[in-house]
Symmetry: C2
Subunit: 538 residues, 2 copies
């Protein structure tokens, strides 16, 4: 048979020097397939690109498994470097670049509450549950450190998947809350994970807890500052030298390189690179993006989105392919019942751990919000709880880091890795599939918005978008309609809690924009009503 | 001192696990520096980005050398994979994407003559010269194979550097000849190099020569076909599924991935990947590019240019840094006089080898050209000879491949590697610096063109460009001016030698465009004069 010959040839080549070329070919071809299939399935509201990529990855894994007679199911060894150095930066940077800044900063305190305190609560519940249940189950030798690690690993929300299931234009509040939480959560997870590895956690006391808090604050503030500085530097350079005069390509290259430099510098200083590149994206979209030529704007907007899109697909394709890796399943295949039990328990703990902080913290957050429209109602709380349940590639990478350094053949380690994979696959596929319908059922008012926004997702920074939004906003205001979101936005703007934003705008216009550029190069003139309206959406 | 402490820290880190992060940081920062400095030096007509990058790379090499007390001068080990798998594809694809197709295909036979026969002549002269001179010089044990390899290595024109010193808009004929030659030349070099490694070349007879010819033709035709097929497939998919309906990012991602896939497939089948991706770029700009949305067009145009730009700077930065690597110079430093002698002899052979085919083959090519304006005059021949003298990263990569596999400490091998580096540096810096002024002195008529074209270099495929060119063209025609280039173009179009192009256009409009799309989705209507005029520039 033709195919079997071809597969045998591929098999032969995979063990030779040529193997990297073969696997890259297959990977690139599979990426193309994912894009085409994802496009064809776009009409079905249940599907999204992640699940398509996961499914294609799983199928490919099965094919490779059969071809190699059960020896291997993957084309490359999962490398943390590949993930953290090449795939994650474009995704997070793009999220910062395209996030609705106003929405994000308005909910800043709630996001911090969810991201920092919430992660701690979730971590505590999962770790405690794992200690109590697994110690009775005889799943192999696991230290206290391992139980704490699994808590930290499964507290890391998958911001990549969140980006796919929630739409910034449809549900701006939820998007900013859940995604913002995911970003802060990452910093918390990194601190937690490093703390577990380095601190002596057998006897936790108040000193260690304080040290831990200090560590988190230090990490958070320094990472943010680095990102902001990198963004401002890029804005200043582009404004001062005016690259567009000679070539658009230089501007685009400089923006990409500076963004990447901020990420790598954060890695260099052992900071949270994800936080850094996120804030770098925000600053770049606020200043640098307005300083470049028009074609650079179009290019950067789409380039960052494309890079992020490809990186996302790559991750899910890889996770799907890697899930079948036979070595890891070998140890646990003797006791399939126990394996399923462990996975279900962990999944249950994830569900409880998230519920345990979303609802109480939402209640707390609501206490500070005076307007009725501002409050996070129960339906929204359920959506926040649900949309943050997905676990993704970050969890997988951390699990590999923790449970393969020591002998991977150990029963306990094997159980932890396979359970993590099961939780990742199950949560991504099942929760991911159900999120879109759930949002539509719980929050039907968003339909109106879905129809008014353009077909391009997550591109609020297009030139026409702010104008369009403004027009629409004014219209509904004049007609006196009481649609939930715009009117609540208007209310929000009039409340005193937004004095911080008011002062920021004053400061921005007086000191920042003259130096770093920004919309239209010129400082903001407060007497122009159009400009002011425009400003609200910035 | 602050800096010495920092450098000591960097030094310490470079030997640790953190080293890859450090070197990436430095590399990205240096890339940014190159872009900024290159921008600032743009006004000086002698400089170009390659030389800036080379200089910065050399300076960094010196700094690292001093910091590490002469142990190392580079941040990464030169990797052929990095060069051939990541850096070269975007450069060559972009060249195909932005090349003036009409100009390229009109000179196709001349390009083939230069690229295939010319490389053979150059290879023969350099190899023979090396055998005769070096055997008397006692520079260590070198086999016949090594002499032939040095001939093949130094026959590889650096198409990357050519792109930088020649301007497509200023000197379209020379650009297409020299650059096209560089691309074909690559295929010839690959064949030559592989032939030297596998054939028994001690007794060359007619059978081997024939086999060699057949091998080259096979490689050339298959590589071209693969590239054309990949391009057509992408055009068909984009046209059929119309991705822009859902998202621009999908289109951009698919174009990038398909182009890269063509390159990797060619590598997989041991073809000339450079030829493949070059033709893929040509087909994509002819069909696919016209099928996508407007924002995708702007994005892809600039993205390909930016990627190519960054990859070029990266290569020169790296070559500059690597040139100082102390290990290689250690062996030859005992006999500096001999080292300089070997390098000068090789440089002289390169000069003679190129002269030996440019002038005779130009004469041959002129015999087939009837019009006086078509002929390649002596000044142009000199420019072609000069502009193709630069040797670059391809030569370095091949030299590493040949002379480090066996023991690098061997005297002969060390001489060959250091001489190759010297030739590369000298030719890039000296010949590169002199090319721009030389072109201005020898071909002053191009000044007029330089002023009329837009400030964006190498972007002939912009929407407005064809219209602008047409307008300008029509104007000069009406005014009856006799400027060299446009009038010769007009003459060329009326000569019978372009019947091939005429039939291709007919075929394109009747069969290809209805299936694969292309400008405006609609088939070409021959009765419209504007459209026809437009067509000439396609």
């Amino acid at each position: 048979m033709e195919t079997s010959f071809l597969l045998a040839k591929i098999n032969m080549l995979m063990t030779s020097d040529h193997s990297s070329v073969v696997s890259m070919n297959l990977f690139v071809a599979l990426l193309c397939a994912c894009i085409v299939v994802g496009h064809l399935l776009e009409e079905y509201r249940w599907m999204n690109e992640s699940i398509t990529a996961l499914a294609i990855g799983l199928c490919t894994g099965v094919v490779i498994l059969l071809t190699t007679q059960g020896k291997s199911s993957r084309l490359m060894v999962f490398s943390e470097d590949l993930f953290f150095i090449y795939l994650l930066p474009p995704i997070i940077f793009n999220a910062g670049f395209q996030v609705k800044k106003k929405q994000f900063f308005r909910n800043f305190m709630t996001i911090m509450l969810f991201g920092a305190i919430g992660t701690l609560i979730s971590f505590g519940i999962i770790s405690l549950g794992a200690v109590h249940i697994f110690q009775k189950m005889n799943i192999g030798p696991l230290e206290m450190r391992d139980y704490l690690a699994i808590g930290a690993i499964l507290s890391a929300t998958d911001s990549v998947c969140t980006l796919q299931v929630l739409n910034q234009d449809e549900t701006p509040l939820l998007y900013s809350l859940v995604f913002g939480e995911g970003v802060v959560n990452d910093a918390a997870s990194v601190v937690l994970f490093n703390a577990i590895k380095s601190f002596d956690i057998t006897h936790i006391n108040s000193r260690i807890a304080l040290e831990f808090m200090g560590n988190f604050l230090y990490l958070f503030i320094l990472s943010t500052m680095l990102g902001v500085l990198a963004g401002l530097l890029s804005a200043y350079i582009v404004k001062k030298l005016y690259f567009g005069r000679h070539s658009t390509d230089r501007e685009v290259a400089l923006m990409i390189l500076m963004a990447y430099l901020s990420y790598m510098l954060a890695e260099f200083f052992y900071l949270s690179a994800i936080l850094t590149v996120f804030f770098c994206g925000i600053v770049m979209s606020h200043y640098t993006w307005h300083n470049v030529t028009e074609s650079s704007r179009v290019t950067t907007k789409h380039v960052f989105a494309t890079l992020s899109f490809v990186a996302e697909i790559f991750i899910f394709l890889y996770v799907g392919m890697d899930a079948l890796d036979i070595e890891k399943w070998g140890v646990v295949s003797n006791s399939p019942g126990k394996s399923i039990k462990v996975s279900s328990i962990l999944l249950g703990l994830v569900l409880i751990g998230r519920a345990a902080f979303v609802f109480p913290l939402s209640f707390l957050s609501n206490l500070t919000r005076k307007s009725k429209y501002e409050k996070i109602d129960l339906k929204q709380q359920v959506t926040i709880w649900w949309a943050g349940l997905m676990r993704g590639a970050v969890s997988m990478a951390l699990a590999y880091n923790q449970f393969t350094r020591s002998d991977a053949k150990l029963r306990g380690n094997a159980f932890m890795i396979t359970s993590t994979i099961t939780v990742v696959l199950f949560s991504t596929v099942v929760f991911g599939l159900l999120t879109k319908p759930l949002v539509r059922i719980l929050l039907p008012s968003t339909k109106y918005f879905a129809s008014t926004t353009s077909s391009e997702p997550s591109s609020p920074k297009s030139f026409t978008q702010p104008l369009l939004s403004n027009g629409h906003d004014l219209e509904t205001h004049q007609n006196g309609k009481s649609i939930l979101r715009p009117s609540s936005l208007r209310k929000l703007l009039s409340t005193p809690s937004h004095t911080v934003h008011h002062y920021w705008r004053k400061f921005d216009d007086a000191f920042m924009r003259p130096v770093f550029g920004g919309r239209g190069f010129v400082p903001f003139i407060p007497c122009s009503p159009t400009d002011q309206d425009d400003h609200q959406w910035l």
